[in-house]
Amino acid sequence: MSDDAPDAAATAAPVTMVPSHVRLTYTVTAGRHLSSYLRALADRRIVGGRCPVCTKVYLPARGACPTCGVPADQPVEVADRGTVTTFCVIRIPFEAAPFPPPYVAVAILLDGADMPIFHLVRGIAPEEARMGMRVQARWVADDQLGPTLASIRWFELSGEPDAAYETYANHL
């Protein structure tokens, strides 16, 4: 090493960044329980799983009921309509947004289920959104059905009167 090396090191600009690109590719396994739910959606049906111990119906079926630790896997078909248990109004645009804001995202307790699913409600003004609204699935056309929750385009008001709070109070 030459004598002037320390000086060179002292005057060189500090290294402030090292580019280190990482790309990892995965093929995810949905698993038996989620697969049963996804396959049913391709068939225009909504199928959950009942826990054999506490009898709760989960959507999707689960590899284990978090209260009982046993698979919640007894197949139960639930309705494609239900009650909005909570909601929010999205007013901020973002890249993956399905619609231009504002629009309404909701948790829906489908009739026959004990766990709400998350989806969107269309056809109402954001200021009309409320807990207890009764809503109905609007499915995609038959040739667009697939093993995905996107088989349901959105939910719309069903025309039924709002559900009483007590009917969904234990499912919030």
Partner: protein, 372 residues
């Protein structure tokens, strides 16, 4: 120190690619089986801890998704290590030393098949000097194997003998993945994968899960007839930078063994379960543990053809099945299960983590000798 024992062990058969089960579906059956062996209800478990790695599954907080299997509602006392489950067992053992809880459940799961395992393992290296080179686990192990061969303390035939013995043992283990018997000469006729390693010197890529139950003192004695007592347990780590280590030696294993009561003057073991994912690593570990690498038979190669000394990896070891984050805890579980079944009274179990045996855990297990 409080007496703590392994009282149950359950595992899934390791497979190359489990396309049926996601995390919770891997964990639920082994947790259920281990608790049933221990005669415990989920509600009776004092402390729960898991070992897994989100990089393997490609999603953050995958261990939280797996928690459903242990029924975490109402809330339970729970912890997690982003490491092999053997280190989760260590934390559980330390937790039981506090004295306020008597039982612990440990589980580990890994699905290496979801990603490209060599690429994933690069991410455990330092991000400046090694990771950008894409130094994959097999190439690093091959560097270590080359150093060992060059030291004159091993040759390729001895590596093949380790692999042949692993396969012979694995044939009797229904949870092992690589179970076909192969003879040493056959193995040596195979081409190199990454010289000097052949395919049989390297572990299979495996999906799997296992669970262990620990219990303290009289609770352990009440629950099972023959608890596998943890007489000593310790783990040590070496520098992250591979260039700072003598890759042909494992001083961290020797140090952990000395502190766990498996040092040079320790009483002999009936069986030993070593977590050596690569054949040459078994020889390095045996050297560090003072276990002869030569079983005293005529050919001088320990290939299970008799001789003195403890049975090494009667399960087949990590060469036969290597679910990441699981294979280390499996060594402790396999050793304990054999003692609980009456196949010996004293066992040494070892787990490793990181590239080229960077971290090592040693556990000494003993039974009181009651009827199995």
């Amino acid at each position: 120190m409080r007496d703590v024992a392994i009282i149950a062990f359950a595992q899934l058969p390791a497979v190359r690619r489990d396309t049926e089960r996601e995390e919770v579906e891997l964990v639920q059956p082994v947790v259920t089986a281990a608790l049933a062996q221990a005669g415990l209800d989920r509600r009776d478990v004092g402390f729960t801890i898991s070992g897994s790695c989100d990089y393997l599954l490609g999603r953050p907080f995958s261990f939280v998704a797996a928690l459903d299997a242990v029924a975490p509602w109402p809330p339970i006392a729970e912890s997690h290590v982003e490491m092999d489950g053997a280190w989760a067992l260590y934390e559980a053992w330390a937790r039981l030393q506090c004295g306020d809880v008597d039982t612990a459940l440990i589980y580990a799961y890994g699905k290496s098949s979801l990603g490209e395992l060599p690429d994933v393992l690069v991410q455990q290296l330092d991000p400046y000097y090694l990771a950008p080179l894409g130094a994959d686990a097999i190439s690093l192990a091959a560097l270590q194997a080359r150093a060992l061969l060059d030291s004159g303390r091993a040759d390729e035939r001895r590596l093949a003998a380790v692999a042949a013995r692993s396969r012979r043992a694995a044939a009797a283990n229904p949870c092992a993945q690589r179970r076909s018997r192969r003879e040493v000469d056959e193995l040596l006729a195979e081409p190199y994968l990454v010289a000097p390693l052949r395919k049989h010197d390297c572990p299979p890529i495996s999906d799997g899960a296992c669970a262990v139950v620990l219990a303290a003192g009289d609770v352990a004695r009440r629950l099972v007839p023959r608890p596998a007592w943890i007489r000593g347990i310790d783990h040590r780590i070496e520098p992250h930078q591979l260039g700072h280590r003598d890759l042909t030696r494992s001083p961290s294993t020797a140090e952990a063994a000395a502190r766990a009561g498996a040092g040079p003057d320790a009483a002999p073991f009936d069986l030993v379960e070593l977590h050596a994912p690569f054949s040459h690593q078994e020889l390095i570990l045996r050297d560090a543990l003072g276990l002869p690498t030569d079983d005293g038979t005529a050919d001088g190669i320990d290939d299970g053809d008799g001789g003195d000394g403890p049975a090494i990896n009667p399960s087949g070891g990590a060469l036969a099945a290597n679910p990441m984050m699981v294979a280390g805890l499996t060594r402790l579980g396999e050793a304990a299960a054999r003692l609980m079944a009456g196949d010996g009274r004293r066992a040494l179990a070892h787990a490793t983590s990181g590239p080229c045996l960077q971290q090592n855990l040693v556990c000494v297990l003993e039974t009181d000798g009651g009827a199995p």
